[in-house]
Amino acid sequence: MDGSDLVLQIRRALRDVTSARSQGQFYDDDEIILALNNAQMLFVNYCLERNLYVYLEGLIRVSDRIGWNAQLNVPANLNILTDPYLHIISAVFQDSEHSYLSRVYLGGEALQYLYTEHYGTYIINNAIYFSRGWGGAPSNYNQQLSGRIIYYTYPARIYGALPSPPVPIDYVTKSFSDAIYENVILYIAASILSLKDSLSQRDVKLLSEGKTFESTIPTQLIYLYSKIDSFLEPYKPQ
C-alpha cells in the first residue's frame, strides 16, 4: 500500500523535519519504509501469538479447491502453501458423498494421528493432506478427497513511492483499518527508528574510548595544563 503519508507522520513523531533550527533529515525514506514493514509484521506476529484475531480480519482468505484431480486421476498439486499463505484457520474436505469438518494439525503433531480413524487435515512444510485415517503413505492420502482451507494471508507491503514497474494491487490494498496503521504500526516503527537516535551502549563505549585516549597524554603535560588553568583563573570571564 501507499505509505508516503505514514512516512511524513513518522518524521513528525520523531521530530525529523527540516526547520530553521535543524537542517536536513536524519532518516532516509527507505529506512522508514523498512521499519514500517518490520513493524507491520511484528504486529501480525504479536496478534497471532496472543490470539488477537479481531485485528486480522482483513487478512482472511479462502483457497480454491485443493485435492484430487478426477480427470488426471492423480492428486492435485499439494504444495500450495507458498508465499501469500501465513497461517491456517480451518479446513473442510469432502469425498463423493459427504463433507467433513476436520481438525487441522501442523507439523510434528500430524503423524501421530495419520493411522487412526480420524478426520484430519495435516500440514507438513508447504504440503497439505486431507485424511480420513485410512493408513498408508501420506502422499496417497488425498485420494478421492478434495477440500478448501481458510487461512490468513500476509498483509500488503508498504511502499514509499509507486514501485517500478507498478504493482497496482499491492499499492492500493490496505490490510488493516487506518486506525491500526496510524496508531499502532506507525508508533512501533517510530520506536524501532528511535533506537538509532537514543544513547546506546555503543555510544557510551565511544565516549569512554575518547576518555581513554585523553589519558594517554603524558601526565607531566596534564599537570602543566592544570597549572596553566590555575594561572589563568583570575583572567577568566566571571
Binding site: A35, G107, G136, Y154, D197, Q201
Partner: protein
C-alpha cells in the same frame, strides 16, 4: 525481507555507521546464528508456525531386515517422527514400533543382539526395534545425518518414513539466500543478531590494556616494534 533488508535492519538497530561498522561476513554469521537460535526456541516452545518451512518428510526409505543405516537428504536439526512399516502380499500395511535410543546405548543393544551374552540358547527375544541417529561426515567430508535402525521384530522388507526439521541454509547476501523462517519472524532474528553484535562490541576487553595499568608502567613505543632493539 530480502537479505539486504535484513542487514539494513540490523544496522538501524545497532545505530551502525558513526562508530565501529560490523563487516558484512560477520553480520551474516551472526544473523545465521540468530536464526538457528530462533528455530531452537520455536522447537522448545512448540511453535509450529515458525517451524513449518523447515519440515522435511522422507517417505518409504527401504531398509533391510535387521540392521540398517540410511542417510538423510539434508542435515537434521530435530527429529519429529519415525514410522516403520511393512507391506504384506495383500497390500496391507503393518506397522512396527521402534524406540529411540541414544547412539551409545544403541551400539550396546547391537552387541546384545549379535553376541547374545545374556540370553539362553533358544530363548525368545523381546520383539522390539530401536532407532537412533548420528551426524557424521561422509566420504566427501560433508556432514550428514545417519539414521540407524535395529529391528528384532521378525518383520521383513521394512519401509521407514521420517519427519524432521532440517537446518536452515546459511544466510548469505552475495548468494541472495535469505532467512528460512517465515516472514513474520524476520524482525525477531534481526533484533537478536543486533543484540549479539552489540554485546560482543560493548563487552570487548581492550587489547593490551592490562599490563601498563596493573604494573604502573608504560610500554615504550620505540621498543614495541622490535626493529630498533
Amino acid at each position: 525481507m530480502t537479505p539486504l533488508e535484513i542487514v539494513s535492519t540490523v544496522r538501524t538497530l545497532l545505530d551502525s555507521g558513526h562508530e565501529w561498522y560490523a563487516p558484512l561476513d560477520f553480520m551474516e554469521q551472526q544473523i545465521d546464528n540468530a536464526q538457528r537460535v530462533l528455530i531452537a526456541k520455536a522447537h522448545a516452545k512448540g511453535d509450529e508456525r515458525c517451524l513449518r518451512p523447515l519440515y522435511v518428510f522422507e517417505e518409504d526409505r527401504i531398509i533391510d531386515n535387521t540392521t540398517a543405516e540410511f542417510q538423510l537428504n539434508t542435515l537434521m536439526f530435530f527429529p519429529r517422527n519415525l514410522i516403520v512399516k511393512t507391506v504384506d502380499n495383500n497390500g496391507n500395511n503393518k506397522f512396527v514400533t521402534l524406540s529411540y535410543l541414544e547412539p551409545a546405548k544403541f551400539e550396546n543393544y547391537n552387541m546384545i543382539f549379535t553376541n547374545q551374552p545374556y540370553l539362553l540358547p533358544g530363548a525368545n527375544y523381546p520383539k522390539y526395534g530401536y532407532w537412533s541417529y548420528v551426524n557424521r561426515t561422509d566420504a566427501n567430508n560433508i556432514l550428514r545425518t545417519i539414521i540407524q535402525i535395529k529391528n528384532n521384530t521378525g518383520m521383513q522388507n521394512l519401509l521407514a518414513s521420517i519427519l524432521y526439521i532440517r537446518y536452515p541454509v546459511a544466510f548469505s547476501v552475495a548468494n541472495n539466500i535469505g532467512l528460512e523462517v517465515p516472514l513474520e519472524y524476520h524482525f525477531e532474528v534481526a533484533c537478536f543478531a543486533a543484540e549479539r553484535i552489540n554485546t560482543m562490541d560493548v563487552t570487548e576487553q581492550q587489547r593490551g590494556l592490562y599490563v601498563p595499568i596493573e604494573s604502573g608502567q608504560r610500554i615504550p613505543l620505540q621498543n614495541a616494534g622490535g626493529s630498533n632493539d
